[in-house]
Symmetry: C2
Subunit: 209 residues, 2 copies
């Protein structure tokens, strides 16, 4: 049984590995800040590119595209899951969407107070409004909408150092054994999938399974 | 939001497609009868052989064996899931275990009152006691233990008609688009994985997602 224990760390945290093209990451991006607040847990945002990790694992594309039975199911599942969590949902006409630029922006913002709002807005662009997310044109209104200097942030996001950080973060994902998104870590313990977010959060808050 | 609706059918039921070699089927086999009783839902037991379905989908073996990162994760996940559900757990030394004979027995018993007890006992042999499940020697004590005439049942299970029924049931699994186990159907609606058992049961009981 999972029950809260008395031995939480002083500053409990959960690592959240995700990318903007992933539909199950959409569910977790929309849920995680509220859940973390209720549990007194800090979210460490770890945006990365899942494509290169998939390639390294031997997949040429999303398993949802390669395995058509699973792919067909996933869109049915998303309708029900979004309904369960009270989230809006539109099946994207382009899947999985390229998301290099928003992932770079998220890398920049990972320690900032706006990271949650930014990630939710990008996810809604993709999975509610069915729009491109990988261009300055797409991201200027998102950044402006949360009160940020869009041009400055996008210039920084496209700079060499941020590109290097993204490569390093994606390499780290592979080295840590990530094989799907979203993935959560609480210390060394891996939890895969939005279906494990609640368990992971409980463990992060000092709970025992 | 999922909420019970007033429009349940007169005789709500859930189809439960599973096999004894599957570790996530273990979780659902142990949970489903109690859950169904609380929801007033009848379980329609649909044992089949997942191997031929996997082959037809282009896999040579369990994805947990082919994809070693996912495989390593699954055993960690099982420890936590079993703890959460209050189930015992031993990682099998032989995975996925052959299970043709117990699946045939389960086909015979699918409409009988002993089906739940039989399936739970076979699952515990595999995932608690780490023992072979695909022989008369393994199954005689299981059947005797629940008060059944073991030899008679095993003779029937090995008869031609039951073999034919198993082939037909496995073909049906493929035709219905099953790509993983366990899978639940409520009418035409598919739910994949033990993680969806609660949702499926709610829908079976007349709930709306």
């Amino acid at each position: 049984m999972i029950a809260p224990s008395a031995t939480g760390t002083a500053s409990p945290e959960i690592e959240f590995w995700f990318e903007f093209g992933s539909n199950y990451s959409y569910l977790s991006v929309m849920r995680i800040e509220d859940l973390a607040r209720r549990h007194g847990v800090r979210v460490v945002w770890k945006p990365f590119l899942f494509g290169p990790v998939l390639h390294a694992l031997g997949f040429e594309s999303s398993p949802f595209l390669i395995q058509k039975e699973k792919g067909a199911y996933v869109w049915q599942d998303m309708i029900r899951q979004c309904s369960k969590y009270g989230l809006r949902w539109t099946q994207p006409t382009d899947f999985p969407r390229r998301c290099v630029l928003p992932v770079r922006v998220a890398l920049l913002g990972a320690g900032e107070s706006w990271i949650g709002a930014f990630c939710r807005a990008v996810m809604e662009l993709n999975f509610v409004h069915d729009r491109d997310i990988d261009s300055r044109e797409a991201l200027v209104p998102v950044l402006t909408g949360i009160g940020l200097p869009a041009a400055d942030i996008l210039d920084q996001a496209e700079s060499g150092p941020v590109k290097g950080r993204l490569r390093a973060q994606t390499d780290e994902a592979r080295q840590r054994g990530i094989f799907g998104v979203p993935t959560f870590f609480v210390g060394p313990e891996m939890f895969w999938g939005n279906d494990r977010l609640d368990d992971a959060m409980l463990v992060a808050a000092g709970g025992k399974i």
